[in-house]
Structure formats: C-alpha cells, structure tokens
Amino acid sequence: MPKVKIARKNISLDMTAMCDMAFLLLTFFMLATKFKPDEVVTVDTPSSISEIPIPDSDILLIQVDKDGRVFFGVDGQHNRPAMLDRVATVYNVQFTEKEKYEFSIIESFGMPLSSLKQYLNTPVEARSKFKQPGIPCDSLQNELKEWVMNARRVNNKFKIAIKGDEGADYATMKKVIETLQDQNINRFNLVTSIENRPADMPAKKDDEAAQ
C-alpha cells in the first residue's frame, strides 16, 4: 500500500482581528472598572424591587452591620477635616494636622470620638485588626447625631443613605432613624440590592408614571 503523504500545511491564522477585538474589550473594561474601596465593615444588604440608583456624589452613608455597630462616612475628602473640626469643638477634643489628614482619607469609621485619636494614630496596615465598636447613638450619648448635624453644616447637599445588614436588629435601626428624625431629616434612602419584581404583580400605570 502506498503511503499517503499528507501535505504539511502551515496553519497560521490571521489573529489581527481577534486581537483588535480583545484589546477593544480590554480597554472598555479597564475604563469602566471602578474598584471597590476598602470597606471597614461587611454589610449584606437586603434586596428590594426598587430601581432608584444611589446618587453619584454627596452621600452621607450610615452603615449598620449585623452586630448593630454603626459606621459613618461622607463623600468627598475635602468635607471631612471641616466636619471633624466642628465635631471636635463640640466635644472639646484637639486633633493634630496629621490626624486630620489621616481622617480625611478614611472612607468610613465606627469609633467613638474619645478613641478616634487612637485609631487615627494606628498605622494603616494595622487598622484592619483594630476592633471598631461603632459610633454611639443611644439617647445618653448620641455622637451620630453630632456627626450628621456637622456634616450637613459643612455641606448641605448631603443625601442620607442607610446601608443596613440583613441581620441587623430593628432596635438599632430605630435608634439611627430616630436620630435622623430628631434633626428633622425625614427623607432618606435605604441601600438595597436588586431583586426582580414578581411576574404576577406588574407595576401599575400610576406607579410607572411616578418614576
């Protein structure tokens, strides 16, 4: 039997088109990505069918984790030192320039003012191990109230968002909400993750018009 000689063919495809596309997508994802900032606390938000997106800027975020610890954070680095100054004056605490700078770069914190200094002087690497007790917000010592009040004095455009964990008990949430209500803040946003509307319950027409 004669051997069938298979012609050796050089298989090289032109990958230019594929390469173009790959880099196009790569560029898109690189530009569209916004890395999540380091979160001091993990909060699993409950889901809702609400479709209102969170505003882009000027957010005052109050986070409540599942153990009922309250964390506070505001948007915009330039707002933070002024806010700290005002709160420090209320409680008669002095902060150095370095501490003010350190404060301006943290996204959110959950320390009572008395031990905030200690937290700010901890090196950044060691902070994750630092146990943050949460901001006191009960009727005896309501620091959250001062923070919210002074943040709003610094920037009156702040919109208030509450990000609570699924497991946070209502007693803590009630304290937070009451703190806001005491300052006549009656409109705020609850941060939720998205959930589909049940198929058998379509939105009513007036509902759509309102959106």
């Binding site: 390469c19 409950p46 968002a161 009656n186 049940p198």
Partner: protein, 176 residues
C-alpha cells in the same frame, strides 16, 4: 505592504536585501489580552446599588397623628424569626390576630385581600407597620418592598402600642 521591494530594480546578479516576513505570532499577545479581559470582567461591578426612598413623619410638627377609619386599617406587626402578625381594625376582644410569613402566599395575599375588599367602597387600605425590636432590618425592607409590589400608597412605620403588646402577650404569648 509597506516594504520596499528592491530586488527587481537591482542589476542582474546583485543580491537585494532579504525579504523578511513581517508576520508575527500574535498568540501570546492574544492570550494575555484575554486573560486581562477575564480579570477585568470578573472584578468590575457594573450595577450600582439601588436605594429605596423612605419618608418618615415630621416629628417637629405638633400633630403627627392622623385619625383613620378602623375599617380601612391593616396593622402588620413584624415579629421575631421572620414572622408577621397582622390584624384588621383596632384592638378589641374580638380582634383576630393572625400569623403568616414573607413568602408570596403570605403577607402579600393578606394585603391584596384587604385592598380587594375595600375596592368596592372606593377606598384604599391604610397599612400600619409596627416592627418589634426583635425583628431584623431585612423584615422592614421586605415589608416596604411588599408595599411597592402591591402598589399600596398609604402606609406608615409606627411604634408598637401598649395594646398591641398586650394583644401579642395574650394571644401568642410573646413578651416584649
């Protein structure tokens, strides 16, 4: 395309520059590009978190309470362990206190039934939500969500009253 072909223009025996293929092997580059795409695709968070707007009554005003007809009211008490207790109207000896849950067949049916029964009278139900301290935040969001789903417009979050506590204690032996 862009290379200059000088071989033909040269004199007979002179050797022109060697023709080098300009094709490069793009496989590693494409590999790398796709690797990075995969990385960015997985790490990126496209959807921003959603929010739910809540309006609470103004505390500074003197009159924050509103008189409502008992027949239009549905009181929902959020209890411990994802349970929902509800009753219609006001607390009386004959008030039927029922317990259900957050499933599709649970509280949603109750709300819709109430809405249906008031529809003939051209009324909408007024839903009073009373979360117990032991209930969790998820329950509150769930019930507010339920209000959106069932398109209820009149609802309020209120504290538990003394008579509600009494009722819970007597009927269900729940101490608050």
């Amino acid at each position: 395309m862009a290379e200059i072909d000088s071989s033909s223009s040269g004199k007979g025996g002179k050797k022109g520059p060697k023709k080098v293929s300009t094709k490069i092997d793009m496989t590693p580059m494409v590999d790398l590009a796709f690797l990075l795409i995969t990385f960015f695709m997985l790490t990126t968070t496209m959807s921003k978190p959603k929010t739910m707007e809540v309006n609470m009554p103004d505390k500074t005003k003197e009159k924050t309470t509103m008189d409502v007809k008992a027949s239009e009211c549905l009181t929902i008490i959020l209890g411990e362990g994802n349970k929902v207790h509800y009753y219609e109207g006001v607390v009386e000896a004959s008030t039927a206190l029922e317990t259900t849950d957050f499933s599709d067949e649970g509280i949603r049916k109750v709300i819709l039934k109430k809405a249906q029964s008031l529809k003939s009278l051209n009324k909408v139900p007024i839903i009073i939500i009373k979360p117990m301290d032991k209930s969790n935040y998820k329950n509150v969001v769930d019930i507010l969500d339920e209000m959106h789903i069932t398109s209820m417009k009149k609802y309020a979050i209120v504290e538990l009253f003394e008579q509600d506590k009494q009722l819970l204690k007597e009927r269900l032996n729940i101490l608050i």
